[in-house]
């Protein structure tokens, strides 16, 4: 009884402790040295970009190797479609490869740019792919047949840093190197709105489940919530000074997870869970995070211990 009382008082004072709010998903042996990993949204695969520029795809939770793209091809970016059926890989030589994760369709590869592909973003229905070549205009490719260029997204200078598509696929929000956030109507590809309030670059964008808000995070080290209908900021969460946000995911009831990197590259990355309603946060894990993704509506995150990768789920 006393133990229960102490526990109750602890939770009342300090909130729910992290250890109690996470469950173990899988332990996998990493196939290589890797800074970060990308779980598929259906939770059955994990892409492991390696420091030697090879890419390994393994099954979850077995850890069986499913696909290897050798280091000579220098994979640089990866994205899964929301249904987990497709994986897009961007390469240093500016090419993009679309791979059927179940092996049900042949891979397709095309030369999107002369520059390294830094980012890839699927539309919710998997029919289009936004390609971000380094410091170059963004591209929207139609994947229905042979990849066909649908739109080119221009900036004052540079290229795409981050991108998000509304849940209904009608709105595309793009963060440029020029620090501007731009809204596009995906039926016409006309720019409809923009936000020039950001002085620093935005590296992560995501829509809330309702599609009514857009969350932005980047070099200003804080999450900004924007009204998707007006592009105006409606809330700014406190900054984690000395860091910058590189990943941002929304899940559950008004919760957002963010990964922060140290500005100077001296401290390990950290991960925070924010409650958008009360602007309070908790640290997710003691070990530095190496992935985060929303799988079946739950937040997955990864940590490593030597060659062992631990995947956990936040409840």
């Amino acid at each position: 009884m006393m133990r229960k009382l102490i526990w109750f008082a602890f939770v009342l004072l300090f909130g729910w402790p992290v250890g109690a709010a996470t469950t173990h998903v899988a332990n996998l042996s990493l196939p290589c040295d890797s800074y970060y990993q990308v779980p598929s949204p259906d939770g059955i695969q994990l892409a492991v970009p390696c420091k030697d520029h090879s890419l390994h795809v393994v099954s979850v939770p077995e850890g069986k190797e499913l696909l290897v793209i050798p280091s000579e091809r220098r994979a640089n970016s990866i994205a899964y479609s929301r249904d987990g059926q497709w994986m897009a890989v961007g390469f240093h030589d500016g090419s993009v490869e679309l791979v059927s994760t179940g092996g049900l369709a042949p891979s397709r590869r095309w030369q999107a740019s002369e520059r390294r592909i830094d980012g890839l973003y699927f539309f919710p229905d998997s029919k289009m792919l936004v390609v971000a070549p380094a410091d170059s205009a963004g591209q929207v490719w139609d994947l229905a047949e042979l990849p066909k260029l649908r739109a080119t997204l221009q900036f004052d200078f540079g290229g795409i840093n981050a991108c998000a598509v509304s849940p209904d696929g009608k709105l595309l929000v793009v963060a440029g190197d020029d620090t501007v956030l731009r809204w596009y109507n995906t039926a016409t590809w006309q720019k409809t709105l923009e936000n020039r309030e950001f002085l620093l670059e935005t590296f992560a964008l995501t829509f809330t489940a309702s599609g009514k808000e857009v969350l932005a995070g980047g070099a200003d080290a804080r999450i900004t919530v924007l009204d998707a209908a007006t592009a105006k900021s409606v809330l700014q969460l406190p900054p984690e000074t000395g860091t910058y946000i590189v990943a941002l995911d929304v899940f559950g009831e008004q919760q957002a997870a963010a990964i922060y990197l140290d500005d100077a590259g001296e401290k390990p990355p950290q991960q925070q869970i924010w409650h958008l309603g009360n602007a309070k946060s908790i640290s997710l894990a003691d070990a530095p995070p190496t992935c985060e993704a929303v799988v079946g509506g739950k937040l997955w995150f990864c940590t490593t211990e030597g060659k062992m990768l631990h995947i956990s789920e936040y409840q």
């Binding site: 410091d135 002085l199 200003d220």
Partner: protein
């Protein structure tokens, strides 16, 4: 002797056969233009620490700042070798300890070279930091009718190159061109030594 005089003498002596559509002055002008032509400055990526609305200052270094003083200068041209009069040059770098100022605008400036096309700024040698191999200075140059030029300047004296930038410049995977590694001249007087680097920027027209 001018180029025009040289061409006239060659033509007169029969050493130069002129096509009917070309006159000596036209040929001299073309010669002049071909000599003025410049290769575009190689691209080098923007990186994550760009900040908009930097102050217009030619003095980024405060007197008490740590690090070797650095004098950067150059001019902005197009590929025809002409000055780009309305260019804007944004420069940002770390301090001597390898830290970017994200909160404020230390070691960030926006310069407008003006009709002569030249720019000059006082700084310090930037520091090394863990996620980058070499010391570097970021440049973003914009001008109407020209492709924005995003690049970085590197220093031939960087210890990473071990005195041989020709051989070792690829130690930093972001340096795609040897041209971006600039020689450093040390000027010294009784009070201090200053590293002097010139870096001309050549923009492509749209």
């Amino acid at each position: 002797m001018t180029r025009r005089e040289l061409l006239e003498r060659c033509a007169f002596s029969g050493a130069l056969m002129l096509a009917t559509s070309l006159t000596v002055p036209a040929l001299a002008a073309e010669w002049d233009e071909s000599e003025r032509k410049r290769k575009p400055t190689p691209y080098c990526e923007l990186g994550p620490f760009y900040k908009r609305e930097a102050p217009r200052t030619s003095t980024m270094r405060a007197p008490s700042d740590a690090g070797m003083p650095l004098a950067l200068s150059g001019a902005v041209y197009n590929t025809r070798g002409e000055i780009v009069p309305d260019a804007k040059v944004e420069i940002w770098q770390t301090d001597n300890d390898g830290h970017y100022d994200i909160e404020g605008y230390r070691y960030r400036t926006l310069l407008t070279p003006g009709p002569k096309g030249s720019y000059a700024v006082e700084s310090v040698m930037p520091g090394h930091y863990p996620s980058r191999v070499c010391q570097h200075v970021h440049y973003l140059t914009t001008a109407s009718g020209h492709r924005p030029l995003i690049t970085q300047l590197y220093f031939a004296t960087d210890p990473v190159f071990e005195g041989d930038p020709d051989k070792n410049y690829t130690r930093d995977p972001l340096i795609a061109s040897r041209e971006l590694v600039r020689p450093v001249m040390i000027k010294a007087d009784a009070k201090q030594s200053i590293a002097v680097v010139t870096f001309d920027l050549v923009m492509e027209t749209l």
